[in-house]
Assembly symmetry: C2
DNA sequence: AATAATAAATGTAATTATTACATTTATTAT
DNA sequence: ATAATAAATGTAATAATTACATTTATTATT
């Protein structure tokens, strides 16, 4: 067995072995709605059910690399924001094998570039409040990921991974409203956000959703000093 | 091989397998100093070096149960606060095997009950700023755990897992000072802490560290509503 | 050309939280 | 009685958060 050949110390041999997978909770925001990328599962058991996308971790990669590999396969994108959520290791979580999963959540900008690729993989962007039942413990993973996203959004300017390069203040407010799942006061929201000084205003207006038009902003990466950013929702 | 017998689906068979371990970052506070429990490693490679305590995850337990099993073995305690930190899965992290580790951090009260047991396992409580070099990526785990502890302390009343049932305000202030690694103003610290309303004052004084004596408090679990606790250090 | 409709942009006062800062108090040992 | 020690306490200034309603820029319609 290939595995055994690599062993250098007898103490490690014959230990109980588990399969190690990663599953990706992929969030996207299409300028209006926070969505999640889900897939038609292509393997037994539960073939045909909705599922997060995952893969086993290979011996020559770490868990983050495994997640990045999956993301690239599906969206064609590299350099996506991705962070570990937590591991799921219940004994019975997967009826097919004793398999733990290291869940990773990713934030991507939904745009036309990756729509095609995504379709090829039997994938679908679901609005978070219309999410179907997913296999195994994947619904729990999504729930946990959303909570983590909320935590993260409270303490760092998270939205920029999800927004296009140029975005309007109403757009980012909508995003935060969806993350926190409540309406925010636009005066207070803008005051807080602008006081943090990491938004650069342009003179261009986006008139796609109002007659007056809303100014486009971009994120000023130089100013993203973690200066006590606490967003109280 | 025992592993193969348990497989139900051919698709899972012959996948690359990794060993899965847990390592425990065990914090303790002896009323003065924040400490970490480290061990003389009993296995090759690196036998005799300082190390966190760990174990492989067994097929009939989840990662949390594995951590709890280790903690009970060593301290004799059950119901210890323990939470997942993150996984460590670098390809080369362990020269002995392709092994990922799910790091868990635990908070315990150092007291005489468990001192004996701890000694039996070649364990030693090190002050955090005198920590020796540990094997593998264990120093990194400690660093990450301390950061997580700090994060956690900012947003929830963490200290009570580390403090004895009855403790004084100077004691808890010292603990927070060690977690945040800076001096805190006692007037502001007490004001903030008491305003959160989850401390119950007793009329008993602890005179072990001053002539005047400091009142003992206990944690009021009923009032631990997560009411916007943000401790700005 | 005037008007209606729409969403974007804006300000202020009241409340609450945070910070900076020094003295008094209770007790024990001398 | 006094000295020594650490614990306990208050206040004023500043900053952050909240609650709340009107005006503005533009396009489409008449």
């Amino acid at each position: 067995m290939e595995f055994a050949k690599n062993q250098q110390n007898s103490w490690y041999e014959n230990k109980e072995q588990l399969l190690v997978a990663v599953d990706c909770i992929i969030f996207g925001f299409d300028k209006e709605i926070l969505k999640l990328l889900v897939f038609k599962r292509e393997i037994q058991p539960l073939k045909g059910s909705w599922s997060l996308i995952g893969s086993f971790v290979r011996r020559n990669e770490n868990s983050n690399q495994a997640g990045m590999r999956i993301l690239k396969d599906i969206t064609g994108l590299e350099n996506i924001f991705m962070d570990e959520l937590k591991t799921y290791s219940e004994v019975d979580r997967d009826p097919g094998a004793r398999c733990i999963s290291i869940a990773q959540y990713a934030l991507i900008r939904i745009d036309d570039n990756n729509k095609e690729l995504v379709n090829k993989h039997g994938a679908f962007w679901y609005s978070l409040d219309e999410l179907p039942e997913l296999v195994l413990d994947h619904n729990q993973m999504v729930k946990d990921a959303l909570e983590k996203l909320r935590e993260k959004a409270r303490f760092s300017p998270i939205g920029f991974e999800l927004l296009p390069k140029y975005f309007t203040l109403p757009q980012i407010q909508t995003l935060y409203e969806q993350i926190f799942q409540k309406k925010l006061d636009s005066r207070n929201f803008r005051k807080k956000l602008l006081s943090l000084n990491f938004l650069k205003k342009t003179e261009i207006k986006d008139k796609s959703s109002s007659k007056k038009g809303a100014y486009l902003y971009e994120f000023d990466y130089e100013k993203e000093t973690d200066q006590n950013f606490i967003f109280k929702g």
